[in-house]
Structures are given as structure tokens and as C-alpha cells.
């Protein structure tokens, strides 16, 4: 028992290493309202972020060597971050979150919306909740924006993340929900394009029947899984994250689909342009 305690202590100390004093103070000054137990209403806890940070910082700084461009485009207060979605596993969301948290000034916690399936899993659901990610329902999104949070949405959804390799960087249709939400809550939209994630786990197929059977959103066929151990990790691509200038929309959130779609397409267009720009300007997939 005492040896376990000692191990826990060393682990904890180790985990604290990447966090210098300034950073810790910033962590304390996060503009989220916490209750007397140190949680916000959605179950987010800065204490947990500290522990989640070591693997995420390692991934962000050393594994994917991520670079953020235009981070100052994120306005203060409520904001919707709209991004393309790719890479089979939602590391792109994690990297956007890490980018905004580590490079933004002041650091902000990006709240993103979790798949229904993930929120039913033990441990996973608790972890997501504690680091500020909550179930994707319109009510939750509205509640978050009303509390002036930064909300990350992937309007492509699972169709986007499970794109096959030859469809990479081609945006699929966007859902309309985020635009209705933005109009209703008068929230600025920051378009984001993530370059690199598409190549982290090339997929050659999707076993839809099996996925349905397992109650999972998708079962992608990943050739790299055939390589033992090393292949089980995502490929060490280089992440480049572009934040576009905020877009402001006005109108009736209950407008017909066509009217909303026109506005959504504006955002989609912008993201597609940013992807094209990003692809043209990157030196290499891996560096």
C-alpha cells in the first residue's frame, strides 16, 4: 500500500513538471465559474486538466509538432469554432483544444461536443466530462454559449472523421445545426482548418454492418494496424491549424433550410479555401 502511495506521488510530481508557475496561475485564472468543489456546472475541473495535459502536451509539441496560425482571431466571450474533421480518431479536436489553451492569450478551455456513444462508456465519459467536453445536444450547446464559452463543432460529424483516404481534404456536407445556434445566440463563428490529420490514419474502407452491430459510429479499415505496436499509433504527421477571421451572421434561426444552408456554405467555402491554402503551403506531410 505504501509503495503504491509513493508511486502515485512520483507520478503526480512528474505530471506537474511541464507546468511552470506562470502557467499554473493562468490555470487558476480560467474564466470558468467553479463551485466550492472546483467543478463547473458541466463537470469540468481544472485539476483534471493538469493531469490530462502531459500526454496532450507531449502529443502536441513533440509527436505532431503542431503549429497554430491566426490564434488571435478568436474573439473574447462566446464563440463557435467550426472546423473540418478528419483522422479516424478525434485527435484533431484535442489538438485544437491544446492549441487554444497553450498559445491563446489568455488560455481558454475549448468545449467540444462528444458523440453519444462515447458518453455511455465508463471512464471515457468521466474523463471527457472532467476535461470540459460534453454530450452534443442543442440544449447543451446553447447552455455553454450562454455562459460565454468557446465551443468547438465539427459540422461534418462522423461522416467527416471517417473519410476514406482518397477523399481526404474534401469537405462533406455540413450540418445546419451550428448556424441556427449561432444565429439564435448571436455568436461569432471562427472557421478553422486542420491540415495533417487526414494522413494520420489512412482508411481504405468502413465496415458499416459491424459498426452497427457493435453500436459504434464506424469501424474503419486501417492498413497500418497490420504493423504491430508502432502501427497502432497514429502516424506522426505534422499538424497545422489555421484560425480564420471571425464571421458574424444575422438572421432568423428558424428560417427555412435553404436560407440557413446559404450561410452554412459561406463558412464551408471559407474553410475549404483555408484548406487549399494550407495544403499549398505545407512543405511535407511529416515535417
Amino acid at each position: 500500500m505504501s509503495s503504491l502511495k509513493a508511486l502515485q506521488k512520483t507520478l503526480r510530481e512528474f505530471l506537474e513538471i511541464p507546468l511552470d508557475e506562470k502557467f499554473k496561475n493562468e490555470l487558476k485564472a480560467l474564466p470558468t465559474r467553479l463551485n466550492e468543489f472546483g467543478y463547473d456546472e458541466f463537470g469540468f475541473s481544472p485539476d483534471w486538466i493538469k493531469y490530462a495535459l502531459l500526454p496532450i502536451v507531449t502529443l502536441y509539441k513533440h509527436y505532431f509538432r503542431a503549429e497554430c496560425y491566426g490564434i488571435d482571431n478568436i474573439p473574447e466571450g462566446r464563440v463557435l469554432l467550426i472546423s473540418n474533421h478528419s483522422g479516424q480518431i478525434p485527435i484533431d479536436g484535442m489538438m485544437i483544444g491544446a492549441g487554444v489553451f497553450l498559445e491563446g492569450d489568455p488560455p481558454r478551455v475549448v468545449r467540444s461536443m462528444v458523440e453519444r456513444w462515447a458518453s455511455s462508456l465508463p471512464f471515457v465519459s468521466t474523463f471527457f466530462t472532467r476535461v470540459g467536453q460534453i454530450l452534443g445536444t442543442p440544449e447543451n450547446a446553447r447552455a455553454l454559449l450562454e455562459r460565454e464559452e468557446a465551443l468547438l463543432v465539427f459540422p461534418e460529424g462522423t461522416r467527416g472523421i471517417n473519410k476514406l483516404f482518397w477523399d481526404r481534404y474534401k469537405l462533406v456536407d455540413f450540418g445546419l445545426g451550428f448556424m441556427r445556434l449561432a444565429l439564435e445566440t448571436k455568436t461569432p463563428i471562427v472557421p478553422i482548418s486542420v491540415i495533417g490529420a487526414e494522413e494520420q490514419a489512412p482508411s481504405v474502407g468502413n465496415l458499416k454492418t459491424l459498426a452497427k452491430l457493435l453500436g459504434m459510429p464506424a469501424v474503419p479499415l486501417l492498413p497500418q494496424l497490420l504493423v504491430p505496436v508502432a502501427g497502432w499509433l497514429p502516424l506522426p504527421v505534422k499538424y497545422r491549424i489555421y484560425f480564420g477571421e471571425p464571421m458574424y451572421f444575422e438572421g432568423d434561426e428558424n428560417d427555412e433550410d435553404i436560407a440557413i444552408e446559404a450561410k452554412v456554405n459561406e463558412v464551408r467555402q471559407r474553410i475549404q479555401e483555408m484548406i487549399t491554402y494550407g495544403l499549398k503551403n505545407r512543405r511535407h506531410v511529416f515535417w
Binding site: 463551485n35 466550492e36 468543489f37 467543478y39 456546472e41 458541466f42 463537470g43 453519444r116 458518453s119 455511455s120 462508456l121 465508463p122 471512464f123 471515457v124 465519459s125 468521466t126 466530462t129 460534453i134 454530450l135 445536444t137 442543442p138 440544449e139 447543451n140 447552455a143
Partner: protein, 373 residues
């Protein structure tokens, strides 16, 4: 038709006048004395209740009668009923109905040992013009048969609502629960009062409580002349209450579902009683979610009561529980595990804005009161 109603009303008024002078004195014995003593005092400052009542009183304490308003509390001998009675009897003439005995009953409370479903219950309404009815007479005992639950909870409620309408009671307050929304991983974080009541999907034994709530809702819509208030508190904790989460937190060793730690809301029993009394204010009507000051993780609540815990894998939790239930070793049903896995948190904005309810006990205080009992 109208004539009949009018006749009935005048008869009732006559009865009322009679009871106000003579009958109450004769029946309640030493009660009037206690009352006359209590009256000159400007109402104790410690309880918020009189204040709420004063601002509310208006038509109820008309100068003609100079009497306290008469209210009926069903299920008064229950743990919550007693708490309510002890606060309420200072600002109203409390009549109580319960099958169970009420030890330590304040002397100015008129107790009736009647089953709600019996005809004698109607006589109470006929003889006394109640200004408000608080319906807490709902059984939660999980070991009683489904039939008894259904019969007592639903027939009882049906009768009470029927009498409220028949004898023109201006206010009826029903105690429902927020648990009837049902815990689910697909729940939004803040369920409003409009959210569907889905707990029955997974937990059949809670259906009578859902039906009760629905019954009250349809009464609300049908009878606008009676102000119907439906209160849906989240888990009730405190040194007295013994149901649901309160019972769970009193276990010697608390089993925890591994890997799950949903955010939950609790409310202190005294806060709930305050809210019930606030609901008496004229003009207040409709459904209100009630919760304590903050949303906290399940694990913090368990830690707060300071008892040892044992982790149970989720795949086995329900199986073990239903086995223990069959062996009569536990009073928890297997589907109740979901309350420890998924969220069922509610939006309390309506209670704050319309009812004017803000909880006064912090979560730590609430948990401390559990620890001491």
C-alpha cells in the same frame, strides 16, 4: 347546475363560520391558547417562512376572520411531512392527514388518522374550507407491492385533486420528483420542466410517480381556478429523510459504479420545505424543478458523507443488485444503478425567477447533515 353549486357554497360558508368559532376550540383543545400566545409575537425571525407568507398573504388573512389560513397536509407523519408541519403551523392552521401516528405532533395541529382513499377524507374538505392543500402523501417504500404503490399514490392523489376542485380549494401543492426525467447519457445538462418524463423506460417501478405527476399536470390544465403547483426536487438529503439517495448514502459501505461519476444535484430537506411554503404564495402556479446551489460530481457527494466505498464494475452492478433484491438483502432496484451512471440534472431557472427560491444550505452543509445523522 349553477344553483346547486351556489347552494353548496353558501352551505359551506355557514359550516365554516360554525367551525371557525366553536368547533375548532372544542376539537383542538389547548390549541387556541398556544395560538393566542404565539400571535402577538411578530413571527420568529429565524425561519424564512413567515416572511414568505407575509408578502404573500393578501386575500388569505382577511381582517374579517383574523384567523390563520387553514391548510391541509397529507402524509404529515412522514419525515418530510413533519418538517413541513413544524414550520407551517406557525403561519397557518395546519390539518394533517395520515394513516401513521405522528409522535411529537405540535398541539395546534389537527391530526386526522384517515386513509386518503376513504370517504371520510372528503368530509374534511366539506367541513373545513382549506386555503391550500399540500399533498405529500405518497409512498416510496420499495418493498411494498406495485399494486399498493399504484393504488395509494394514484387513487389517493386522484381523490385529493377531486376534492380540491369540488370544494374550491384555491391552491394545491404536489410533491413530485426530478428523478422521473430519468438518468440517461443522452440527457442535456439542464432539463427544463418541459422535458419528457422518461424514467419509466428503464425503471418500471417509478411509473406510478410519473403517472402522479401527469395526473397533477392534467389537473393544472383542466382547472385554472385552482392554482396547481408541482414541485420536482432533485435528490433530497438531510438528517431526516430516508429515501433514494439519502438511503444509499446511509449504507455502511457504499458501492460505487466503476468508471462513472455523473454530475448530480441534491437539495437540503429544509430548503425543500421552504420551497413548499413559498409555493403557497398566491399567483404561483405550474411546475418547478428544485435543486441545491450547485451541481457536483457523484463522487464528491459520497466523499462528503465520509463512508467507505467499494467499487463495482458496471457490467456486474445491475446483476448483483437484482440478485440481492431477490434475496431481500437490499432495498434498491437494479435500474436505480443508472442514477449513479448518467446525468439527470435539471434547470432551476423557473424556480428562481417565478417561485423566488434560492437554496440557503450549501452542498457541504447538506452533506454534513447526512454525516451527523
Amino acid at each position: 347546475m349553477a344553483d346547486k353549486k351556489h347552494e353548496r357554497q353558501t352551505a359551506k360558508e355557514a359550516l365554516l363560520r360554525k367551525t371557525a368559532r366553536g368547533a375548532s376550540k372544542a376539537k383542538a383543545g389547548p390549541a387556541p391558547k398556544a395560538k393566542s400566545k404565539a400571535k402577538p409575537k411578530p413571527a420568529p425571525k429565524t425561519t424564512p417562512a413567515p416572511k414568505a407568507w407575509k408578502s404573500a398573504s393578501g386575500p388569505l388573512s382577511s381582517p374579517r376572520s383574523r384567523n390563520l389560513p387553514k391548510v391541509l397536509v397529507t402524509g404529515i407523519a412522514g419525515r418530510l411531512g413533519r418538517l413541513l408541519a413544524k414550520k407551517l403551523h406557525r403561519i397557518a392552521e395546519v390539518h394533517g392527514v395520515d394513516r401513521r401516528p405522528f409522535e411529537g405532533c405540535p398541539k395546534d395541529i389537527v391530526m386526522h388518522h384517515i386513509d386518503l382513499r376513504k370517504k371520510r377524507c372528503e368530509d374534511l374538505f366539506r367541513l373545513t374550507g382549506y386555503q391550500a392543500v399540500f399533498h405529500l402523501g405518497v409512498i416510496h417504500d420499495p418493498r411494498r407491492s406495485a399494486e399498493e404503490h399504484h393504488s395509494f399514490n394514484l387513487r389517493g392523489t386522484m381523490k385529493i385533486l377531486e376534492y380540491c376542485n369540488k370544494y374550491n380549494v384555491p391552491k394545491v401543492v404536489l410533491l413530485s420528483t426530478a428523478n422521473i426525467y430519468g438518468p440517461s447519457h443522452t440527457n442535456p445538462f439542464f432539463l427544463t420542466e418541459d422535458a419528457p418524463l422518461l424514467a419509466g423506460e428503464k425503471f418500471p417501478d417509478i411509473r406510478d410517480l410519473i403517472e402522479l405527476d401527469m395526473l397533477a399536470q392534467s389537473f393544472f390544465w383542466k382547472h385554472a381556478e385552482t392554482e396547481t403547483v408541482i414541485l420536482r426536487p432533485t435528490h433530497i438529503l438531510g438528517s431526516h429523510v430516508r429515501q433514494g439517495l439519502a438511503r444509499y448514502l446511509r449504507l455502511k459501505i457504499i458501492p460505487k459504479v466503476m468508471g462513472f461519476d455523473p454530475m448530480i444535484q441534491v437539495i437540503h430537506e429544509e430548503d425543500l420545505v421552504d420551497a413548499i411554503i413559498m409555493a403557497m404564495r398566491p399567483g404561483v402556479r405550474g411546475i418547478f424543478n428544485l435543486a441545491g446551489p450547485s451541481v457536483v460530481p457523484f463522487s464528491e457527494v459520497i466523499r462528503g458523507v465520509g463512508r467507505p466505498t467499494v467499487p463495482v464494475p458496471q457490467s456486474m452492478a445491475k446483476m448483483i443488485l437484482s440478485l440481492l433484491w431477490d434475496l431481500k438483502l437490499t432495498d434498491f432496484r437494479a435500474p436505480q444503478v443508472d442514477y449513479a451512471r448518467f446525468i439527470c440534472t435539471v434547470d432551476t431557472a423557473r424556480a428562481r425567477e417565478i417561485l423566488g427560491f434560492t437554496p440557503r444550505r450549501s452542498i457541504r452543509e447538506t452533506l454534513k447533515s447526512m454525516r451527523n445523522s
